[in-house]
């Protein structure tokens, strides 16, 4: 019998070198990588945790703990659902990378990153989870930089910020262990809370540590940025919830939830305001995600099971909107060579001299599906009606509409800022073309974008598709009951 964690750790890691060797044959590499992640998603979402089943000729016990070098790895319900969702998103991203390249290292290193993130989710000890997360984040630097030459501020900023976040989290574990030996020393818990807040604030991009999100969105290939912001953010959030679950002194401290609310509000406001001021789609995407992540934290700040469900639903819906917008952006950048929708006159006045705003003019006529994907994904991140983003946003607004209507209004305005930013960009895309036409959109990539558009609209109209697993996951966190 094979313990489930072994599959999740070893299979992506073992196939990564094969995918690397196949990288010149993009179809084979993308097919192998996405088939691997699809199998992983199937294992996480389809197999029961409480009993062994036969899969691929082997008997697999998904919930069976496994010891490696004296450390226990075990897949629990919340971890399984999170990993399953991340693997599904990765499947779509890897398949898309077949037609619109996201860098030669994306597929093999993406598999390694997923294996390390699985380890971070499954290992029992928080200290080692943080170390696995750190190593995964350092490897992420290679796919953010991609094959492109020239210094990238976003890559370096990401590396620095993640590395700054790790020490406080590692020291927290020591403080918590020390407090267990000295239960009367409450000062230790205070220090632990402060350090934990700093570490997670950096990883979750809470203002003023938010700069890396837009920098990564601007510098990384769009689908890579979406992959990083989806997968790593989801794992960080899960680690935070697991920590709250493990230590009642923390989850019973109302100040923790006030901090979450405040941090989330700042993110939502700054994200919305800066999104409105952007003149290129990649940075706009970064700030849109920042604002949406802020709303998730605001929801968690309510500290109730319903709020947790809304927050988790929003994480899932955000991933769909983010990936859709990133795919649309990737096709547009690939075909038009730019993603800036700056007014041509401003563009020239500022000395860029490239007229990138003009390059995007009329692109919507040549790339209608990608344009629709880009804008619809953006509107979903803004929580606009008919998109995947609305149901969870609506649930969050309802959490606050009677107790703190000003908070709900701030989040609503944040979404409006993001939506207006996208509509400004859309007006450039729809304007009459001023330069020779760009090539038509790639067929397979458009099909994938179209599939994601249908999913985004479907989740907007029928949010209950994802509600059941999200509800099960929220129920597994008992600290709010």
């Amino acid at each position: 019998m094979i313990a489930g964690p072994l599959f999740l750790l070893v299979l992506p890691l073992a196939l990564a070198p094969v995918v690397y060797l196949l990288r010149r044959w993009r179809l084979s590499a993308a097919f192998l990588a996405s088939a691997t992640t699809l199998i992983m998603a199937g294992l996480c979402l389809g197999l029961p945790l409480d009993r062994p089943v036969s899969a691929f000729g082997w008997k697999v016990a998904l919930g069976e703990p496994m010891m490696v070098l004296g450390r226990e790895f075990a897949l629990e319900l919340a971890g399984g659902l999170t990993l399953g969702f991340i693997y599904l998103i990765a499947t779509v991203a890897f398949l898309f990378a077949w037609r619109v390249s996201q860098g030669g290292l994306f597929l093999p290193l993406g598999l390694i990153i997923l294996s390390l993130l699985s380890a971070a989710v499954m290992i029992r000890h928080f200290l080692f989870a943080v170390l696995f997360l750190w190593i995964a984040s350092i490897i992420t630097v290679f796919i953010i930089q991609s094959d492109r030459r020239g210094p990238r501020r976003g890559t370096l900023r990401y590396l620095v910020m993640v590395s700054l976040a790790i020490p406080p989290l590692l020291i927290t574990t020591w403080l918590v262990d020390l407090q267990a030996i000295n239960p009367d020393n409450l000062a230790l818990l205070r220090y632990a809370t402060v350090l934990l807040a700093i570490g997670f604030a950096i990883l979750l991009a809470v203002v003023p540590f938010h700069g890396w999100v837009s920098a990564v969105a601007a510098d990384a290939p769009p689908v890579v940025a979406a992959f990083v912001l989806t997968a790593i953010n989801a794992v960080v959030l899960l680690l935070m919830l697991n920590f709250l679950q493990s230590y009642p002194w923390l989850s019973e401290d109302l100040q923790v939830f006030s901090l979450l609310r405040l941090g989330g509000l700042l993110m939502a406001v700054v994200g919305g305001l800066l999104a409105f001021a952007q003149r290129d789609f990649s940075r706009l995407l970064g700030y849109a995600v920042l604002g949406d992540m802020g709303c998730t934290l605001v929801a968690l700040g309510v500290a109730s099971p319903a709020a947790l469900t809304a927050a988790l639903l929003q994480v899932a819906h955000r991933s769909v909107g983010l990936m859709l917008s990133a795919m649309g952006l990737a096709v547009i950048r690939h075909r038009a060579g730019s993603d800036s929708f700056a007014n041509p006159s401003t563009d020239l006045r500022q000395g860029s001299g490239q007229g990138s705003g003009r390059r995007l003019a009329g692109v919507a006529r040549r790339l209608p599906i990608s344009t629709a994907g880009l804008v619809l994904g953006g509107l979903s991140l803004a929580g606009m009606p008919l998109t995947a983003g609305l149901p969870s946003r609506w649930a969050i607004y309802r959490l606050y509409h009677s107790s703190a209507p000003s908070l709900a209004l701030a989040m609503l305005l944040s979404g409006a800022g993001v939506a207006l930013g996208y509509l400004r960009g859309l007006s450039t895309l729809l304007s009459p073309p001023t330069e020779p036409g760009v090539k038509r959109e790639p067929f397979i990539a458009s099909l994938i974008v179209l599939g994601m558009i249908i999913l985004c609209l479907g989740l907007g109209l029928r949010p209950q598709w994802l509600l059941l697993p999200v509800q099960r996951m929220a129920d597994s966190f008992v600290f709010l009951k």
Partner: protein, 217 residues
């Protein structure tokens, strides 16, 4: 042939004040000097001195492992910087990218020296007011000094290699403190892997400057 304890016994005079002074000087050199050769030599010295200090706190073998990882990191950075430097020499006509061969002008040197001193004073003040737990006061001061200078380098650096040295200085400072708190060998291993991967990531970001300046090498 002398064993590791014999060597350490001979070097014991270095494990107190001289090592602390050495760390203060090497970390400050990384801030003040722009030339990559001197900065890298200072980083190497920093790893050796931090290793010597660590022998007072943890098993000498583990401290030696950390020094060896530091040496590997320096080798990776040296090869990278040499490659990038040659690339820059071949692309003298493209000055738009930040250079790793930058010469330190007098005003720049004075500014960096003053900044290092001010930040160092703040570090000293912090180390006396909030001493780190579980480590002797002198090592606590060294941790504060390294962390502050590492942060300063990160703020002042305009190219990945220098910023990377700042980040590695910061991580060294953390390891100097954390090694006493968590003595598990698997944690030491993880931190070593992370250090090496950070160096590889910096190396991956750095050659771009030289290569990009001329299009292709």
């Amino acid at each position: 042939m002398p064993t590791l304890p014999d060597v350490l016994a001979k070097l014991s005079f270095l494990m107190t004040a001289p090592a602390i002074v050495g760390l203060v000087i090497t970390a400050s050199l990384i801030v003040v000097i722009r030339d990559w050769r001197l900065s890298l030599a200072a980083l190497l010295g920093q790893y050796v001195l931090a290793g010597l200090l660590l022998t007072r706190l943890i098993h000498p073998q583990v401290a030696l492992t950390k020094v060896l990882i530091g040496d590997l990191v320096c080798v990776v950075l040296y090869l990278t910087a040499r490659l990038a430097s040659e690339g820059e020499e071949a692309a003298e006509d493209s000055p738009r990218l930040p250079s790793i061969r930058g010469k330190t002008s007098l005003p720049d040197f004075a500014f960096r020296l003053l900044a290092a001193l001010f930040v160092g004073l703040a570090a000293y003040s912090l180390s006396t007011r909030y001493p780190l737990p579980e480590v002797p006061a002198d090592i606590g001061f060294a941790c504060y000094w390294l962390a502050s200078q590492g942060l300063l380098v990160l703020m002042l650096a305009d190219e990945p290699l220098k910023a990377g040295m700042g980040l590695l200085t910061l991580i060294t400072s953390f390891e100097l403190f954390y090694s006493t708190l968590e003595r598990s060998l698997s944690v030491v291993g993880f931190l070593g892997i992370a250090n090496f991967l950070v160096a590889l990531a910096i190396a991956y970001l750095t050659p771009s400057t030289g290569i990009d300046a001329k299009g292709e090498r």
